[in-house]
């Protein structure tokens, strides 16, 4: 549904987006991750046709966004980062305006408004003027606008930003639910949302894609992935550390909160690592109090690949 090739945007001397390519099909929810200023919003603005790309192409459905903007825009529902709306309108007036702009009329329009009001939990504020709403409601009013024409493509720029934990939860569920039948791209810097809602995630940093995969694949890039953490008694820590480190396939051992963590030498070693450790414990007569294989931590992956090198290396 969305096909982006070599997309780039230059502001003055700054390359905000630098050769980004990806595709999103119907039924996919793509999480778009990256630190502030990475170029997420700029990319989304090019997909939705708000700003023209400096280089590259965006196709939405069968339409090139630059060449046939109106056809492309009809397929898209967009929630901009600031979740803008007209403050002097009521929620109902605003949604009615959005429906008119999408060519909905009569009963279809009435039903569409009813549907998004229910989905976005706006029933209690429907007649209220938007400038009197709290941030969460304003945000969801703009989200409702993006859903009014039941679009095939949804572009949501930080849809959970500024919401309270319950609202965040509801919006994530909504995204996952809608993702079954639509192509969705949403940006966030909250990593739990990747697991909660995405089928795939892209990490972008300084305008370039630095990682692209399913949440599990991204976690596997973590240095923790496949590491075995054990709590055991029956020998002192030094002995255990030394014996673990001597094992074939173990790269190094680290003490963490009263437990020991053995890191695999490479990914091929990680599958067998837990069995090797259990065998060692049995041989040595250690009692195991706890044992787990680390899945890998997204935030570690995120930090490692998006921090500038100067920050990553401990300063001397």
């Amino acid at each position: 549904m969305i096909r982006i090739e070599n997309l780039a945007k230059t502001f003055g001397a700054k390359r905000a987006v630098d050769g980004v390519s990806f595709a999103v099909e119907r039924g996919e929810v793509l999480g778009f991750l990256g630190p502030n200023g990475a170029g997420k919003s700029t990319t989304m603005r090019m997909i939705t046709g708000f700003i023209p790309p400096t280089e590259g192409t965006v196709r939405v459905g069968a339409h090139d966004v630059v060449e046939s903007p109106l056809q492309a825009k009809r397929l898209i529902g967009y929630l901009p980062e600031a979740a803008p709306s007209y403050p002097d309108m009521t929620v109902e007036g605003f949604l009615s305006f959005a429906a008119d702009m999408r060519g909905l009329a009569g009963d279809t329009k009435k039903r569409a408004i009813g549907r998004v009001v229910e989905r976005c939990f706006l029933a209690s504020v429907i007649h209220q003027s938007i400038d009197t709403l709290s941030k969460g409601y304003r945000h969801r009013t703009c989200l409702a606008q993006a859903l009014i024409h039941d679009p095939e493509v949804l572009i949501l720029d930080e849809p959970t930003d500024g919401l309270d934990p319950n609202q965040k939860h509801e919006v994530r569920n909504l995204i996952r639910e809608l993702g079954a039948s639509k192509a969705i791209v949403f940006s966030t810097h909250i990593l739990e949302e990747v697991d909660a809602a995405c089928s795939r995630a892209i990490i972008i940093d300084r305008g370039k894609i630095v990682a692209n995969g399913t949440p599990a694949e991204l976690r596997a890039m973590s240095v923790f992935a496949g590491a075995v953490t054990l709590q055991a008694s029956g020998a002192d820590t030094e002995t255990m550390t030394a014996k673990l480190a001597a094992l074939d396939g173990v790269a190094r051992v680290e003490a963490v909160d009263g437990a020991l963590r053995a890191y695999p030498r490479d990914s091929s070693a990680s599958g067998r690592l837990v069995r090797t450790v259990v065998e060692l414990a049995a041989r040595e007569g250690w009692q195991l109090d706890g044992l787990r294989t680390e899945e890998g931590q997204l935030d570690e992956v995120f930090r490692r690949i998006t921090l500038p090198d100067t920050v990553k290396a401990p300063s001397r």
């Binding site: 945007k9 502001f11 603005r45 939705t48 046709g49 708000f50 700003i51 023209p52 109106l70 056809q71 825009k73 009809r74 898209i76 967009y78 901009p80 600031a82 803008p84 709306s85 007209y86 403050p87 002097d88 309108m89 007036g93 305006f97 959005a98 008119d100 702009m101 999408r102 060519g103 703009c142 606008q145």
Partner: protein, 247 residues
Amino acid sequence: MSAGHMISTIARRELTSYFASPVAYVFLVIFLLLTGFFTFTAGAFFERGEASLASFFMWHPWLYLVLVPAVGMRLWSEERRAGTLELLFTLPIAPWQAILGKFLASWLFLAIALGLSFPVILTVNVLGEPDNGQILAGYLGSLLMAGAYLAVTCMTSAMTRNQVVSFILSVVILLFLILAGFTPVTDLLVRWASPAFVDTVAAFSVMTHFDGFQRGVIDSRDLLFFLSVIGFALFATGVILRNHRAG
């Protein structure tokens, strides 16, 4: 979705938002008070002893200098400030339709204000026997001039997210458009420049082109002038907004 549907959707929203705020009513009252003051007091309506609206229309170029930018300054600057520009230009509407829709809504608002001055027509008709054709021509000219002013304000409001800056910019531009053909100024200019040059400059002035309407003459060149100013300024609005989006 037809262009007409899109334009009228935009225009309706804009007009509703004018009347949703008390500012609109305050504006209407101020407009009527000022036209009244200028016509009857400063314009010496009664002392003229003639049944015409000359003292009513002669002030319009000056009155509009401040009032029209006040009406139009928020048109695009507010969309830029509130971020709704991003919403508007990601909806399936062509930019020219949005520009025209917003312009027409504000022009209609100005037309309503102007229309509410109808008691002056009644007054002259009660007091004497005016040439109502001339009055109608005056109204047409005034409306076109308001449209030209408004289009210029549209353009300046696209340049900035700050309404006040947009107001000041448009007052400055409009002042040039007035002074280029304002008799005291042109009288000064002929001392230094050739009359041909002064005439050329004056041809760009709203004063020159409003003059005919005031006298009851609808000249196609005057019509064309105001419509070209509107067309040009709205086109420039489109270019400015496109450049703004391109970053």
